[in-house]
C-alpha cells in the first residue's frame, strides 16, 4: 500500500513539491522497505531538480496529447467502418419499428415513403452521421449518444451492458495477477541464481514450453482433467446470484485463473531471469562483494532492486490490462465477461455495443502503453524522459 502511495506522489510532481522532504525520508526510515526507500530517492531527486520535473511533466503532457490525437483518429476510422456495416433489423430484434425510430432520431437513417406509400429506411451518408454523432455527444442532456443495444439487452445503453460484464473479467484477471506476479518473479530469481545449473536448465525448458504453447491448449487440458475426468472442479463459471466473492464462485474461477497464470508466470520468470543475470554480472556487484557484503546481501540489496526497475512497468501494464481480459479463456470457461460480450456483439451484430466495446479495448491499449512508457522513466532515474540526446 505504502509503495503505491509513494508512486502516486511521484506521478504528480506538482503535489510532491509542497510535501516536505522529511516526510518521504521519514517513511523510509520508519519502515526499511527497500522499494519504498527506492521510490523516496526518486522522489527527492525529482524535487531537487525542478528542471527535470518540468521536463518530465512536459513529456507526459506531450504523450497525453499524442495519445488523444491517436485515439480520436482511431475512433473516426472505427466509426466509419462500423457504420458502413450492413444493418439487418429483422433478425433477433424485439421490435424493428422502435429500432428504426431510434435510428431516425439519432440521424443515422431517413424515412422514405415511395409512390405506393411503402415505407423504407435509407442510410444517411457516413460522414454526415459522424457529424451528427459528434453533435449529439457534446449536447448536454442527450439520453443516448452512444446508441442502444438492440439485440443483447433490448434498449439499454452500451455502457451499462459493458459495466455489467466487467466484474467477472476483472476478478479473474486480478486473481491471476496475484498468483502469477510473485510466483513468476520468485521463479526468475531462483533461475538467475542457479544460472547454467540443472535447475535453471530444467526450468528454462518449462518456461519455454509454457510461453510457446497457446493458453487455450492448457485451458482445454485443465478443463478435461479437472472437470471431466476427475470431476473435482466446475467446468464453467458459477452463477452470479451466489455473489462475486462466494466460495462457489471462487471455486469455479480456479480453472480459468490457472490457465491464464501459466503463460504469465513463464513470462515474468523469463524476464526476471534475463534482467537479474545481467545485473548480477555488472561491475557494481563486484564492488559490493569487495566491500565485504555477502552474496545474499549483495543480491537482495543491489541486484534485485535494480533488476526490478524494468519489471515494474510490466506489472503496471498488466494491471491496466485487467479490464480487457482474455477472449479465449472466457469463451472456454463461459466466464461471460467483457471478452464474451465482444464476441456476442459481433455474432449478434449489435453494432452499437460492438463499437463501444471496441473503443473500450482500444482506449485500454493506448493508456496501457502510455503508462508503461512513462513509468519507465519514473522508476529509473537513469532514463531521462523526452530528452533530446
Amino acid at each position: 500500500m505504502k509503495t503505491k502511495k509513494e508512486q502516486a506522489e511521484t506521478q504528480s510532481p506538482s503535489n510532491s513539491e509542497t510535501t516536505p522532504e522529511t516526510d518521504a525520508s521519514a517513511v523510509a526510515a520508519k519502515k526499511p522497505n527497500p522499494v519504498a526507500s527506492f521510490f523516496s530517492k526518486i522522489h527527492s531527486s525529482l524535487k531537487n531538480s525542478s528542471k527535470e520535473t518540468k521536463q518530465t511533466l512536459a513529456y507526459i503532457g506531450q504523450r497525453l496529447i499524442l495519445m488523444l490525437i491517436t485515439f480520436v483518429a482511431i475512433f473516426f476510422i472505427c466509426f466509419i467502418l462500423i457504420r458502413l456495416l450492413p444493418v439487418n433489423a429483422d433478425s433477433g430484434m424485439k421490435d424493428p419499428e422502435i429500432f428504426y425510430l431510434n435510428m431516425v432520431a439519432q440521424g443515422r437513417m431517413e424515412k422514405v415513403v415511395d409512390a405506393a406509400g411503402k415505407i423504407t429506411y435509407r442510410n444517411i451518408p457516413v460522414f454526415q452521421q459522424l457529424w451528427t454523432f459528434l453533435g449529439n455527444l457534446f449536447t448536454p442532456g442527450n439520453p443516448a449518444p452512444w446508441g442502444y443495444s438492440y439485440k443483447i439487452e433490448w434498449l439499454s445503453s452500451p455502457a451499462d451492458v459493458l459495466f455489467k460484464r466487467l466484474p467477472p473479467t476483472v476478478l479473474i484477471n486480478i486473481y491471476s495477477m496475484i498468483v502469477s506476479i510473485p510466483l513468476g518473479i520468485l521463479l526468475g530469481i531462483y533461475m538467475a541464481l542457479k544460472k547454467n545449473k540443472w535447475q535453471d536448465h530444467a526450468l528454462s525448458v518449462l518456461v519455454m514450453l509454457f510461453i510457446s504453447v497457446p493458453s487455450f491448449v492448457y485451458a482445454f487440458l485443465l478443463q478435461y482433467l479437472f472437470s471431466y475426468v476427475w470431476q473435482v472442479l466446475p467446468a464453467v463459471r458459477a452463477d452470479a446470484s451466489a455473489g462475486w466473492f462466494s466460495p462457489i464462485m471462487f471455486r469455479s474461477m480456479i480453472l480459468p485463473v490457472l490457465s491464464m497464470c501459466f503463460g504469465s508466470i513463464a513470462g515474468f520468470a523469463r524476464y526476471t531471469r534475463a534482467e537479474l543475470t545481467e545485473v548480477l554480472t555488472s561491475d557494481f556487484m563486484l564492488l559490493a562483494r569487495t566491500k565485504g557484503l555477502t552474496r545474499a546481501q549483495a543480491t537482495v540489496r543491489h541486484a534485485f532492486r535494480n533488476s526490478l526497475v524494468p519489471i515494474f512497468p510490466m506489472i503496471l501494464g498488466e494491471i491496466i490490462s485487467v479490464l480487457s481480459g482474455s477472449l479465449i479463456i472466457e469463451n472456454i470457461f463461459t466466464v461471460n465477461g467483457v471478452g464474451a460480450l465482444f464476441l456476442e456483439s459481433i455474432q449478434k451484430r449489435d453494432y452499437d455495443v460492438f463499437q463501444f466495446v471496441a473503443m473500450f479495448y482500444i482506449l485500454i491499449g493506448l493508456v496501457g502503453t502510455l503508462v508503461v512508457d512513462v513509468s519507465y522513466g519514473l522508476v529509473d532515474p537513469r532514463i531521462r524522459m523526452g530528452s533530446e540526446k
Binding site: C78, L84, A358
Partner: protein, 555 residues
C-alpha cells in the same frame, strides 16, 4: 626495428653515438619479410551463421519437427486414399455419417485399449445382453471389465463396464440401385462369401410382423392397449436405430412387469436369441427387396464401406461429427494455416521493409508523420478489423460471386493481418536504418555521389537483413496463432466454405464437446503446440546464429 632501437638509444643518452651495422643481427634469415598467409580458409558470414545454428541442438530438432509437420501437411492430402474417392458419391470430400465420432485407430496398438478405436462404456443389463448377440461380422463388445451391483429397493440393478469397439457400428439398412446391387452380389460371389457366414449382405429383418405378433401377446398378458402401443412404438424406434438387432425383443422385466423402453432379447431353449428374419413361403431367408427400382438390403456396414471405398474405414485420428477423417482434415488445415502464415509474413515483410526503410532513412518530419500513421494503425486490434471484414465481405454478393466462400475467408484474413502486421517489421527496419545510416561507410558512399536508392539497397539493407529475416521468421507462428485463435472463436465462419484451418478444427472440437469426444480437440491442439514450440525455438536459434556478437561466446 633497428631504426627504433637507434632512436631510443639516442633519446636515453642524449648524445650522438655512431653504431656499426654488425651490432645488429637479422631476426630471420630471409631477404623479404611478409605477412604470414592464413593457414585456415576464410569463413563467409552465412557459413559462420550456419555453423553457429548447427551447434544449437534445440533449433535443429525444432527445424526437423517443422519439416515433418510440413511434410505431413503436403503429403497426406496428396496420398491419402480418402482424397481419391469419387466425386459423385462424395461431393464434399470423404465423409460417412455412420462413422461419426469413431475414435483414433492405429493397427500397431490393436487390442491394447490405447489408440485402437475402443472406449469404455457402462451398460445396463438389457443393453449388455442385446450387445452380446448380433449377426454383424464385427462385435461391438470387446471385453467385460467389471460388473457392479447396486441395490435399489428390492431389486438389484447390474451395471456392466465394458470396452467397446467404436468401429463395430453393426448392420445398416441401405438402398442400392440395381447396378450397384449386382456388382455387390458379384463381389460377394467372387470372394465366396455370398450368403455365407461372413457375407456383407445380411438377411432382412421382419420387424413389423413381429411387432404385431408381440403386441397381441402382451395385450393377452393383460397390458392396457394404450400402454402396449407405447411399448411397441418405442420398440419400433429401437429396431430402426439398431439395425444390428435381428432377434425378438421382450419388454418384460425380471419382476414380471413391462418396461416402456428397456428391452431384452428372447432366448430359445439352447440359449440363442430367437431370430425374426424375413422368410419366404419356402422358409428361406430373404436378402433383398426390390422397392420402386431400388434394392433394400441390410449390410454389415464396416465391410460394406470397405467394399465400397476399396480401403478399410479405419481412421488414424478418428472422425468428427459428420464422419470426416480428422487425419486428412488436419493435414489440410495445417497446410492452410502454414500457407497463410508464410504468405502473410512475406507480404508484411515487404511492406514493413519499405515503410521502415523510408521512415528510418529520411528521418525528420517524414519519420514523424509516418510514425503517427503507424501508431494509429498498430492500435486498432486486428480482431476488430477481421470482424468488420468478415461481416462486410459475407454480405457483399458481388464479392462472394467473384471469389467464392473460401476466397472471402482468405481475403478477410489477408486484410486483417496485413493491415497491422507489418508494423513490427517496419519498426525493426527503422531502428536498423537509424543505426547504420550515420556510419562512415555510408557517408563515404554518399560523398562519392551515391543516390538514396543505392545507399538504401546496396549499403544499409544488406547489413540489417539478418535481424530482419529472423524477426520475420518469428512472425510466422504469430500469424498462425492469431489465425487459429480467431477462427476458434468463430469470428470467421469456415463451415460452408470447404476450407479448414487448425483454428476451425479447434472450433469443431469444442462444438463436439470436450467431455464426450476429446479426440476431436486433441490432435489440432498437439499440432498447434508443436508448431508454436518449434517455430519459437527455430526463430531463436536463427536470431542467435545471425547475431555476430555472440560469436565464440559459448565455445
Amino acid at each position: 626495428m633497428a631504426q627504433e632501437m637507434k632512436n631510443t638509444s639516442i633519446a636515453s643518452t642524449g648524445e650522438n653515438i655512431a653504431l656499426s651495422k654488425d651490432l645488429f643481427v637479422r631476426y630471420k634469415d630471409e631477404k623479404d619479410l611478409h605477412d604470414q598467409a592464413f593457414e585456415t580458409k576464410p569463413v563467409s558470414y552465412l557459413a559462420d551463421c550456419f555453423k553457429r545454428f548447427a551447434k544449437n541442438k534445440a533449433s535443429i530438432v525444432a527445424a526437423v519437427i517443422i519439416f515433418l509437420i510440413t511434410m505431413y501437411a503436403i503429403i497426406v492430402p496428396l496420398a491419402s486414399p480418402r482424397t481419391k474417392v469419387d466425386k459423385v458419391t462424395y461431393p464434399n470430400g470423404y465423409m460417412d455419417n455412420n462413422f461419426s465420432y469413431v475414435l483414433p485407430y492405429n493397427s500397431i496398438f490393436k487390442g491394447t485399449g490405447f489408440w485402437d478405436g475402443t472406449k469404455i462404456e457402462t451398460k445396463s443389463e438389457n443393453d449388455y445382453q442385446t450387445m452380446l448377440y448380433g449377426d454383424s461380422n464385427h462385435s461391438r463388445f470387446v471385453k467385460l471389465l467389471s460388473t457392479t451391483e447396486t441395490r435399489i429397493g428390492p431389486s438389484v440393478v447390474k451395471a456392466y463396464k465394458i470396452r467397446v469397439d467404436t468401429y463395430a457400428i453393426g448392420n445398416k439398412n441401405v438402398k442400392l440401385s440395381p447396378d450397384k446391387f449386382n456388382t455387390l452380389v458379384a463381389y460377394e460371389k467372387d470372394h465366396s462369401i455370398y450368403r455365407a457366414e461372413k457375407s456383407i449382405m445380411k438377411p432382412l429383418v421382419d420387424v413389423e410382423s413381429y411387432l404385431t405378433k408381440y403386441r397381441a401377446e402382451i395385450v393377452a398378458d393383460g397390458v392396457v392397449s394404450s400402454t402396449a402401443d407405447g411399448i411397441i412404438d418405442f420398440m419400433r424406434t429401437y429396431y430402426n436405430q439398431n439395425s444390428n438387432v435381428y432377434f425378438a425383443l421382450s419388454a418384460k422385466t425380471s419382476n414380471g412387469s413391462y418396461s416402456q423402453n428397456r428391452f431384452s432379447p428372447i432366448l430359445d431353449s439352447s440359449g440363442k436369441p430367437v431370430d425374426i428374419y424375413k422368410r419366404d413361403s419356402g422358409n428361406n431367408l430373404i436378402y433383398e427387396e426390390l422397392v420402386s427400382g431400388e434394392y433394400n438390403v441390410r449390410v454389415d456396414y464396416f465391410d460394406y464401406a470397405t467394399y465400397r471405398d476399396g480401403f478399410k474405414p479405419y481412421f488414424f485420428f478418428g472422425t468428427n461429427d459428420s464422419g470426416q477423417d480428422i487425419f486428412l482434415r488436419l493435414a489440410k488445415g495445417t497446410q492452410f494455416s502454414l500457407l497463410l502464415g508464410i504468405g502473410i509474413s512475406a507480404i508484411n515483410f515487404i511492406i514493413g521493409l519499405i515503410w521502415g526503410a523510408m521512415s528510418g532513412y529520411y528521418g525528420g518530419t517524414t519519420d514523424l508523420i509516418m510514425e503517427r500513421i503507424t501508431d494509429i494503425i498498430a492500435n486498432i486490434p486486428s480482431i476488430i478489423i477481421l470482424s468488420i471484414c468478415s461481416i462486410q465481405f459475407t454480405n457483399n454478393i458481388a464479392l462472394k460471386a467473384a471469389l467464392g466462400e473460401s476466397g472471402i475467408i482468405v481475403l478477410a484474413f489477408l486484410v486483417a493481418f496485413v493491415y497491422s502486421g507489418w508494423v513490427g517489421v517496419a519498426s525493426t527496419t527503422r531502428m536498423q536504418f537509424y543505426r547504420f545510416k550515420g556510419q562512415e561507410y555510408v557517408l563515404a558512399s554518399r560523398t562519392l555521389g551515391a543516390k538514396d536508392g543505392r545507399l538504401i539497397f546496396k549499403h544499409i539493407l544488406p547489413n540489417a537483413i539478418g535481424t530482419l529475416v529472423t524477426s520475420s521468421v518469428l512472425m510466422i507462428p504469430g500469424v498462425i496463432f492469431s489465425e487459429s485463435s480467431l477462427s476458434y472463436l468463430g469470428i470467421v465462419n469456415f463451415s460452408t466454405s470447404g476450407l479448414s484451418s487448425i483454428g476451425s478444427l479447434l472450433n469443431e472440437g469444442q462444438a463436439a464437446g470436450l467431455q464426450y469426444y476429446p479426440h476431436v480437440l486433441l490432435f489440432p491442439c498437439i499440432i498447434i503446440s508443436l508448431l508454436m514450440i518449434s517455430f519459437n525455438l527455430f526463430g531463436n536459434g536463427l536470431r542467435d546464429a545471425f547475431n555476430t556478437s555472440l560469436k565464440g561466446s559459448e565455445d
